[in-house]
């Protein structure tokens, strides 16, 4: 493919059914009311010269290059700011406007470096293009006047340069930062000739509030804001449209290459999830794919104390197959299993679970979604009948009240957060339920109506109290409940109990009763109220209960089945939804159908030619227990670092060390690989061909930008292992795997690579009833028929604070890093987060003699680690917070194996801890952290 240039219509599309018809240069065109003359002209095929206009931003009317003449109107209005009116006759090329445009261009060029041939934007510069378009032949003002050519560049950002000498002050970057990203880090400083783009208060980009989303770089029409990679490598010459492999938003990108070298990732305007926006990870942090740490050859070793030995693929695959079978011969068919990855494609995940069920002959397959969103699958299946979120991301634009529970979208799901912030700026009300004062609570032009700063582990008590208010104050949508739901009376009786009143739960939750009542009323009274939630909901001992509690509340208020409402999980990794859809759980085939269902199992048995077990297999935590008791001895770990990401790492380490065979497939020798006997090098997302499914059930194509550097696709490797174990598995192309998925999975029946290539993306269910997918679920009826209210008793966690461990640790992630950091730590993103820190309240810090930057010990009942303190009142007293992006810190050394009662999802969000100065006599020590990370304290 050549370089893909998307059309730019100059101004945004206007929604609405009413239309107006106009004529542009003799061409008739009919457009929605409110459409600009510039956009109408573009739709008619007439490009009007422009510089300050682009269709991702509201019109600004500053450059005056887009002037036109309109019959019956005086002057030469700017076409970007002039809306079409019925019958309007527009002329875009007249001697008058041509002369005006040339004059404007002369002024721009008189204060612009004339270095086009050596400029990094040569060939991709709108100023250059417009000079040609307007027929600029002279600059009558000369080049000797006062100018900005000596303005110093700002190269502080690791990914892009700011060269103010090339700036034309069009404000596109400033507007992109505000309108698209919602950060408002940029401004135009000064007036008139002194006007200049400024980050923050005249700071360097790196010192400002800039979050490096790249929206300004994307919007810049010149080389003023330019990717360093373009400066270094030159302008790309071809594009491949693919999907980001970071978070569950699943942004579409144009991977732009020069030859076979990836130059930059540019967000794709037609991407359904992101619509042309990006974050610092997807936009810039792809360097890990070529990092020198990456392993490209398979390796084996007899014992984990032996050195690795590089081998050819045949030997590595034979070793896996032989040793797996040997274990089964000695310890039985159920003694081995696999963990699939939410970072891998649907096709890769599908073949892993197929290998386990058909070749291993058991159901011991689980996915890393176990440790993040398994309660979502359980809770939404019980209540709605489908283990997935209800909306598409666009839906948030219709919400009047947005309730964010246990999620930090600006850090975890930044591109969706930008959509949400836009809606909040338009006037939607915000309720935040979180122990921590996340950025959304108060940020530029946004302030939460209510921040319910609950104590960790009390989510269910809060949601029950909100339901109590709804039921006892007659705020229930009686019609919706009567028509669409069942189980209401028992549930209503339960939530109406005095013990669930906000006044009764206040001592438990710490949320003032009057505030909770006000929030519940706000949610219930809104025409459209939407719930968005994250791991702060699921990663609790009552994660599944809380998911059901939110579903109950949404049903009670009739907030299901249309745009602007719903219950929406913000999935952690790129393909969490997909890995769950693909039958990665030990009790379910694809499409969430239980292995004990004879009719479903028969479909797979007939297609796969093997008898399949009707009993569920081991979940990840159960695998660890079974490894320690000796009944589970061989594990294939696909693209997951369980020795860093899973809780109670001492337990995990002991389990891995007890196994006879651990096979790790990954890009890097990760922490888990320390326990591995076979290492199979993986492919980066840039080398993959397949699909990811994001948090809105959107199946997106992942297209190979380059061939696998290891020589094999990951799905091929899995197939070859299965074949070597005596179960032939072979496909010529991943599209055949998707065809098989569609054949056995009713919700995927209409999906194929051809359909995806044609439609761009599809949200499942996609079948005969919905051939182009389903953006909003449960519209006329729930998947299970009637929505099921579930009684959600609050059960306090067993993890209690004591005098010895008086604080509660909760964990999360930050914007620049991703999960265990295996990817982002190998990029320039470390500039923002070189190490994990412990946030604690000033009161807790003072009580312990801790100052900002001190090295502190963090100890729980199961382990201890050391890290630097960051004193912050974002946390309430008694609660501390850290991330788990760096293995040296090993935050999961201290988290316990407490887990959700229904799904075993670990309770990462609640660990009783104590914090103290690591070296009381040597403040601000620079000693290495984490040295004693595995020393147990209890």
């Amino acid at each position: 493919m050549t370089l893909l240039k998307e059309p730019d219509f100059g101004t945004p599309e206007r929604p609405g059914a009413a239309t107006v018809s106009v004529e542009v240069d003799g061409l008739p065109v009919t457009v929605p009311e409110g459409t600009s003359v510039m956009r109408a002209a573009a739709l008619a095929g007439v490009d009007i010269p422009k510089l300050c206009a682009t269709d991702s931003l509201e019109p600004f009317g500053s450059c005056r290059l887009c002037v036109v003449e309109i019959d019956g109107r005086r002057g030469t209005p700017a076409s970007c700011t002039t809306p079409c009116a019925e019958g309007m006759v527009v002329r875009t090329q007249t001697p008058k406007v041509e002369k005006l445009r040339q004059g404007v261009m002369e002024l721009y060029i008189s204060d612009h470096p004339l270095d086009c041939l050596t400029c990094s934007a040569n060939g991709d510069c709108e100023l250059q293009d417009m000079a040609g378009a307007v027929g600029l032949r002279q600059v009558r003002y000369g080049y000797e006047g006062e100018n900005h050519l000596d303005a110093e560049p700002d190269k502080s950002n690791p990914y892009f340069d700011f060269s103010p000498s090339k700036c034309i002050a069009c404000s596109r970057c400033v507007r992109a930062c505000g309108e698209v990203q919602g950060t408002f880090a940029l401004t135009i400083e000064g007036r008139g000739f002194d006007s200049k783009v400024s980050a923050g208060a005249g700071e360097a980009f790196m010192d400002s509030e800039c979050v490096s989303c790249g929206a300004c770089v994307q919007a810049c029409p010149t080389a003023t804001l330019q990717e360093k990679s373009v400066v270094q490598l030159g302008m790309p010459s071809r594009s491949v449209v693919t999907t980001c492999a970071y978070c569950g938003v699943g942004c579409s990108f144009k991977a732009e290459l020069r030859g076979d070298e990836l130059v930059r990732m540019v967000p794709y305007k037609d991407g359904g999830a992101n619509e042309g926006h990006s974050c610092v990870k997807g936009r810039f942090a792809f360097g890990y794919a070529t990092h020198p740490d990456r392993k490209l050859k398979p390796m084996v070793r007899e014992k984990i104390t032996d050195p690795w030995r590089e081998v050819e693929w045949d030997e590595a695959i034979r070793t896996v197959a032989t040793r797996m079978r040997a274990i089964q011969e000695t310890y039985g068919p159920s003694s081995i299993g696999a963990i699939s990855s939410s970072r891998c494609t649907n096709e890769e995940v599908y073949v892993v679970q197929k290998m386990v069920r058909a070749a291993f002959g058991n159901n011991n397959v689980d996915t890393c979604a176990r440790v993040c969103h398994s309660p979502t699958g359980y809770g939404l299946k019980q209540t709605f009948g489908e283990s997935a979120g209800t909306q598409d991301f666009r839906s948030v634009a219709e919400a009047d009240v947005i309730m964010v529970i246990g999620a930090n979208p600006t850090d975890g799901h930044p591109v969706f957060a930008s959509r949400m912030k836009r809606r909040l700026r338009e006037g939607a009300q915000l309720i935040v339920v979180d122990p921590r004062r996340i950025d959304l609570v108060r940020s530029p032009h946004i302030e939460a109506a209510h921040h319910l700063q609950l104590k960790p582990s009390t989510n269910v008590a809060v949601i029950n109290s909100m339901a109590h208010v709804v039921v006892t104050e007659a705020l229930v949508d009686q019609g919706f409940v009567a028509d669409r739901c069942e189980g209401f009376d028992e549930w209503a009786e339960f939530v109406a109990l005095p013990e669930n009143s906000p006044e009764a739960t206040e001592p438990i939750t710490g949320v003032p009763a009057d505030q909770l009542r006000a929030a519940a009323r706000l949610y219930a009274a809104a025409p459209n109220a939407a719930i968005y939630y994250g791991l702060g909901v699921t990663e609790h001992s009552q994660g599944s209960t809380m998911v059901m509690g939110m579903a109950n509340l949404a049903m009670a208020c009739g907030n299901i089945g249309r745009e602007g409402v719903g219950v929406n999980p913000l999935r952690g990794q790129n393909n969490v939804q997909g890995s769950c859809d693909m039958g990665s759980f030990p009790h379910e085939f694809t499409g969430y159908r239980h292995v004990s269902d004879d009719a479903v199992r028969t479909v797979f048995e007939e297609l796969w030619g093997r008898e399949l077990l009707p009993e569920p297999g081991l979940r990840i935590p159960n695998m660890f227990d079974a490894a320690i008791d000796g009944s589970f001895r061989g594990l294939f770990v696909h693209g997951e670092d369980i020795a860093q990401s899973d809780p109670n790492l001492q337990h995990v380490s002991a389990a891995l060390a007890a196994m006879d065979l651990v096979v790790v497939q990954d890009l890097f020798l990760n922490e888990t690989a320390k326990f591995a006997h076979v290492f199979l090098p993986g492919a980066s997302f840039l080398e993959k061909d397949g699909t990811f499914t994001n948090a809105e059930r959107r199946v997106n194509r992942v297209r190979a930008v380059m061939k696998p550097k290891t020589g094999k696709h990951e799905w091929q490797i899995v197939c070859e292992i299965a074949t070597a174990m005596g179960y032939p598995m072979a496909y010529d192309h991943p599209s055949q795997i998707m065809d098989e998925i569609a054949r056995v999975t009713p919700t995927f029946k209409g999906i194929s690579f051809d359909v995806l290539d044609k439609l761009g993306s599809v949200q499942w269910p996609c079948n005969d009833d919905a051939p182009e997918g389903t953006p909003t679920m449960h519209v006329d009826a729930f998947t299970r028929g009637k929505g099921q209210f579930m009684v959600t008793t609050y059960v306090p966690t067993d993890e209690r604070t004591t005098s010895r461990f008086p604080l509660v640790l909760t964990t999360g992630r930050i914007l620049s890093q991703y999960n265990v950091g295996a990817q982002t730590r190998r990029t320039e993103n470390v500039a923002w987060h070189p190490e994990d820190v412990l946030e604690l309240h000033p009161l807790d810090a003072e009580n312990r003699g801790i100052r900002d930057g001190d090295l502190v010990t963090l100890a729980s009942r199961v382990g201890r680690t050391t890290l630097k303190a960051q004193v912050s009142d974002r946390m309430p007293p008694g609660v501390v917070y850290t991330t788990f992006h760096h293995p040296v810190t090993g935050a999961n050394v201290v988290t316990t194996e407490n887990s959700d009662w229904a799904t075993n999802c670990p309770e990462y969000k609640v660990t009783a801890v104590q914090v103290g100065l690591a070296h009381p006599l040597a403040r601000h020590s620079s000693e290495s952290v984490g040295a004693d990370r595995l020393a147990a304290v209890d």
């Binding site: 011991n364 339960f494 009993e615 569920p616 979940r619 159960n622 079974a626 008793t793 059960v795 993890e799």
Partner: protein, 78 residues
């Protein structure tokens, strides 16, 4: 978290705690159905062994649920 308690006992008791809003007989049935749906057979066998051994601290709902589960399994096999 109770140290030294077998995982199956801890998990089963936790399920019982989350079903405490239900009458004991219904809770036992729900617990049995949940374990049948989500637990690997070896985990169920360990739970049965704990019940047979009269392990301290087993919730009565767990004991009854395990009985129902075992009966159901035997009927399926038989």
């Amino acid at each position: 978290m109770a140290a030294g308690v077998p995982s199956e006992q801890r998990m089963a008791n936790q399920i019982a705690s989350n079903l405490r809003h239900q009458p004991a007989d219904r809770a036992a049935e729900t617990l049995a159905a949940h374990i049948r749906r989500f637990w690997d057979p070896r985990m169920r066998a360990r739970l049965f062994a704990l019940v047979d051994a009269g392990a301290d601290g087993l919730d009565p709902v767990v004991v009854e649920g395990a009985r129902l589960l075992r009966k159901d399994q035997e009927e399926r096999v038989g």
